[in-house]
Amino acid sequence: MSVDTERTVVVTVNGVPREATVPVRRLLSDALRHDLGLTGTHVGCEHGVCGACTVLVDGAPVRSCLMLAVQADGHAVTTVEGLARDDGRGGWVLHPVQEAFRECHALQCGFCTPGFLTTIAAGLHARDSSAEITDEEVDELVGGNLCRCTGYANIKKAVKHAAAAMAEDAR
């Protein structure tokens, strides 16, 4: 690769500044997975429909297969690996939506799961957590991602479960 086809980018990934030299055509999804080793972000279609590769760029859900790695330069990216937070005692506290997915059996093969988790986490953080979540809000949050295993019923259940847990935390 010649100089004009590569760029060095600095992206804050899950709170940590990461530098990588990537071909300019490299997709953000591939850079996260193959250059940074964050394989939790999955690629299901590479044309922006299925949502499995969804990450948060500056807090907003983005299909990382539709974004070039160079476009992420200077931005903050959160992947599924960054949803849980450090408990300060050497362990991790799962995000409420991660807890809810496990509790509600909202995943089977788990391949689409990271995209749902990031999308739903962003959506729940963007709303007033003290208000009870409506069915319409739930449908909106899960409506843009494909899952072939669950039939979505338990994913919807998990969103409600997570929203309730976040309401409890906000109290």
């Binding site: 299901g44 991790w92 496990r102 788990g110 494909l146 072939r148 295993c149 669950t150």
Partner: protein
């Protein structure tokens, strides 16, 4: 007390890694591997005239290019016909790379290996393959008309004629008080797992061994196939199915060309090589299912009782038949469902087309069979002016008729003998669950809102858990950890949880101590695979038997130590104790240590088992004749024949007569899979199956044009249901345990998908009064049907004062 775990909704153990992004799917493995990409045929049927790779040679990062001419030995021979059958008289399979001819768009022609996938695709783009196009056969009707042949030497395009007969159908039809005949169609869909196929291979030249990861449903058989094709001893090859992102049947096919070519390249290049399928490749080069033309004649009496059934199916098997005629056999044998059919004749002609191969997709021929049978019952009800539920009730096998012999031969070569069931029970529960008898008031209420409402139902019997066998190995370590392994693979069914539940329950240990491994030939080399709703039945019983073996041995050793009778001992919470005698106990982990007489004390626990610690008998060897060191046991479960699960579904649809949008407003499921290991997981399987059933009924179709180009080979165009398309599902359960296996279980994986097309077609017909004889159906097609003055109307619609007008 150890919590009773069998039958409990235990939360899944695999989720801990999957929800934090620590799963390990195929493409997560081998970050340093070379990447393979393929030049695939752009034509549905063509001769390869030439391959010019010169322009690709300049691509920086190119490592190797392979075409058919580079294949040697068994690799240059056709791929195996995995399941031969005497009625598969003209089997055809492709080659790992096309040998002079391509028979569908997407067939692999050239493999490129490069330093990364981008570069491999660059090189693919520069390779020029010259073709001479040949006439194309698309669709089951074109195949049967046979104006062109897919394979030159098979001019009628017929790969197989599968035929079964249980009585004198001609005589029974002649004697029938009433008969009716009709033809109907069902279209192609596909498994379409979220993760496509993928293969990673690493050759260790120093050890002369090959390790292959494949996103497969059958790692042991992939291993055998690779060994055979690459001329390696099977002990030099290991195959592991890592976390697999869904399979739904398609990943049972093997060896895929890529499963052979990637290891071949890894050996030749002495470097790791990986191929991850992209979505377009998945649509055009993996597998599809479902297309059939069904010609049906039924004889019945004035009460709606069937006296004879004659079915002639034309089944589109695509370009090749690597998986034999399993789908046609399943359609033929499962079609008759829960009904008494005094005389049944079925003929399935399996025909070649220039399209992607047809192999099992969840349901594997059953949705088509169910569609044939249930739509027949709907037509009988309509002709007689009877309630559709009543017609079904009059034909059901009764609970006192089990075991019920249908006198057919199933896909495993064994008789179709239903082991147990309560079909009237299913029907009663379904009618209550969906409010079947209130349909008229629902219809009126919908009409007041300007909507057409219809209700439909369908029942099925599903042969699950076919043999020949699965095995299980259970080992208690000195740490107290219990290792469980079975050879079949997992694609999201929660096997790590359900097999742990079974072993923990059988052995009397906390589930936290149990660790389950599946689909790894290093741990368990004998297996068949995960398909046909068989994992819980087969490996569930195998690990249960293995756990019982461990328990027996543990009690024997503990009885010696505790100086008690084994019959007086129990295992609870990992502790072997004398019943009713507190304090007289020994931990299972200590028994594990004692079970392995040692010379060397490598740690504290091991000291207990060394030769001067155990006061052995001078006239007995430390390991008794017939015994073995270690607290472990291996066992196999091999069933005499399949178990037969059953169920009944109902759908209520509302149709907007302005747009003809079809909305499934209620979907009801009554399900019987015998004893349930984990009801949470079974419900999850039902939910997922129903979503695929609804998709297959209303949205999904493989839109091939006349040239054999798949017009919707992406998620933008192939309408796989999002959450907005999947109805809420209400579920009721019934449990009729199987008498055939120790745990009394039947399979649950495929059930949810089977009756969807039939039930929804019935509901649309009920709502519109137009005969629905081709599925799936889109709003535009329904609109055309409603505007077609020649469209057949149901008798029921003529009798009704309200309902559809177009």
């Amino acid at each position: 007390m150890t919590t009773k775990l069998f039958g409990e909704p235990v939360r899944r153990r695999e989720d801990a890694r999957l929800i934090v992004g620590q799963g390990r799917y195929l493409d997560d493995i081998g970050s340093a591997a070379l990447a393979a990409a393929f030049v695939r045929s752009p034509h549905a049927h063509a001769r390869i005239v030439g391959i010019d790779a010169d322009a690709a040679l300049d691509v920086e990062g190119l490592v190797a290019i392979y075409a058919y001419e580079d294949l040697t030995g068994p690799m240059a021979e056709p791929l195996p016909v995995l399941i031969p059958h005497p009625q598969l008289t003209s089997p055809r399979t492709g080659y790992p790379l096309a040998n002079g001819e391509v028979n569908h768009v997407g067939e692999a022609v050239v493999m490129v290996v490069a330093t990364d996938r981008y570069i491999a695709e660059d090189a693919c783009d520069r390779i020029v393959v010259t073709y001479e196009e040949l006439p194309v056969v698309v669709g089951v009707d074109a195949a049967r008309e046979a104006e062109a042949a897919v394979h030159e030497e098979i001019p009628d395009n017929v790969a197989a004629v599968h035929h079964q007969e249980t009585g004198d159908v001609e005589a029974a039809l002649a004697a029938a008080p009433r008969t009716l005949s009709f033809t109907q169609y069902i279209e192609r869909s596909g498994s379409i797992p979220m993760e496509g196929r993928g293969v990673h291979a690493r050759w260790d030249a120093d050890d002369a061994s090959l390790r292959v990861y494949s996103s497969t449903q059958a790692s042991t058989s992939v291993r055998a196939a690779i060994a055979a094709k690459l001329e390696l001893s099977v002990d030099r090859v290991e195959v592991i199915a890592p976390d697999v992102g869904g399979g739904f049947g398609m990943k049972i096919v093997h060896p895929w060309p890529e499963e052979l070519l990637v290891p071949m390249a890894a050996i030749a290049l002495g470097q790791e090589v990986k191929w991850s399928e992209d979505r377009r490749e998945h649509f055009i080069s993996s597998a599809h299912e479902r297309q059939q033309r069904q010609e049906i004649t039924v004889g019945y009496d004035d009460d709606g009782r069937i006296t004879a059934l004659d079915v002639h199916v034309w089944h589109d098997n695509g370009a090749y038949t690597p998986y034999g005629i399993i789908v046609p056999i399943v359609t033929a044998t499962q079609l008759i469902g829960p009904y008494v059919i005094p005389a049944y004749r079925v003929k399935v002609e399996s025909v070649y087309t220039n399209t992607v191969i047809v192999t099992p997709y969840r349901g594997a021929g059953r949705p088509q069979g169910c569609y044939a049978m249930e739509r027949t019952l709907d037509r009988i009800a309509d002709a007689l002016g009877m309630d559709r539920a009543l017609v079904r009730e009059r034909n059901l096998i009764q609970p006192d008729q089990f075991p019920y012999d249908q006198h057919l031969t199933f896909q495993d070569g064994r008789p179709v003998i239903y082991d147990s069931g309560d079909y009237p029970g299913l029907m009663a529960k379904l009618k209550a669950l969906v409010g079947w008898d209130d349909a008229a008031s629902l219809r009126s209420a919908a009409e007041a809102r300007g909507k057409l409402l219809g209700i439909g139902m369908a029942m099925y019997v599903e042969g699950t858990g076919p043999g020949p066998y699965e095995g299980g190995h259970v080992q208690v370590l000195g740490s107290g950890k219990v290792l469980v392994s079975t050879g079949l693979t997992s694609q999201g069914q929660g096997h790590e949880t359900v097999f742990a539940q079974i072993v923990a329950s059988e052995l009397g240990v906390p589930i936290e101590d149990v660790e389950v491994h599946t689909g790894d030939t290093r741990r368990f080399g004998y297996a068949v695979g995960t398909f046909a709703s068989r994992a819980a039945v087969m490996s569930g019983n195998a690990v249960a038997l293995a756990a019982r073996g461990v328990r027996e041995k543990a009690l024997r050793i503990a009885a010696d130590v505790l100086e008690a009778d084994p019959g007086d001992l129990e295992i609870d919470d990992g502790l072997v104790q004398v019943k009713g005698t507190p304090g007289a106990s020994i931990p299972l982990r200590t028994i594990a240590v004692l079970s392995n007489p040692l010379r060397y004390a490598f740690d504290e626990a091991a000291k207990q088992a060394t030769q001067f610690a155990i006061p052995g008998s001078d006239d007995k060897p430390p390991v008794a004749v017939g015994d073995a060191p270690g607290l472990e046991h291996r066992d196999y479960y091999s069933p005499i024949r399949s178990t037969f699960a059953s169920g009944a579904h109902a759908a209520v649809v509302e149709i907007d007569p302005a747009t003809w949008e079809i909305d499934v407003v209620t979907y009801a499921v009554v399900h019987d899979c015998g004893n349930v290991v984990n009801p949470m997981i079974v419900e999850g399987q039902v939910h997922g199956g129903v979503a695929q059933g609804v998709g297959g009924a209303l949205y999904e179709r493989m839109a091939y044009d006349a040239d054999g180009q798949l017009q919707n080979a992406s998620f933008m165009d192939f309408l796989m249901p999002f959450a907005s398309e999947v109805p809420d599902v209400v579920i009721d359960h019934q449990q009729t345990p199987s008498p055939l296996n120790p745990l009394g279980i039947k399979g649950a994986g495929e059930a949810g998908v089977i009756p969807g097309t039939a039930a929804i077609a019935s509901a649309i017909e009920d709502a519109t009064g137009r005969r629905i004889a081709s599925m799936p159906i889109a709003p535009s097609q329904l609109y055309d049907l409603m505007r077609d003055e020649n469209a057949e109307r149901t008798m029921a619609s003529a009798a009704r004062t309200t309902g559809a007008r177009a």
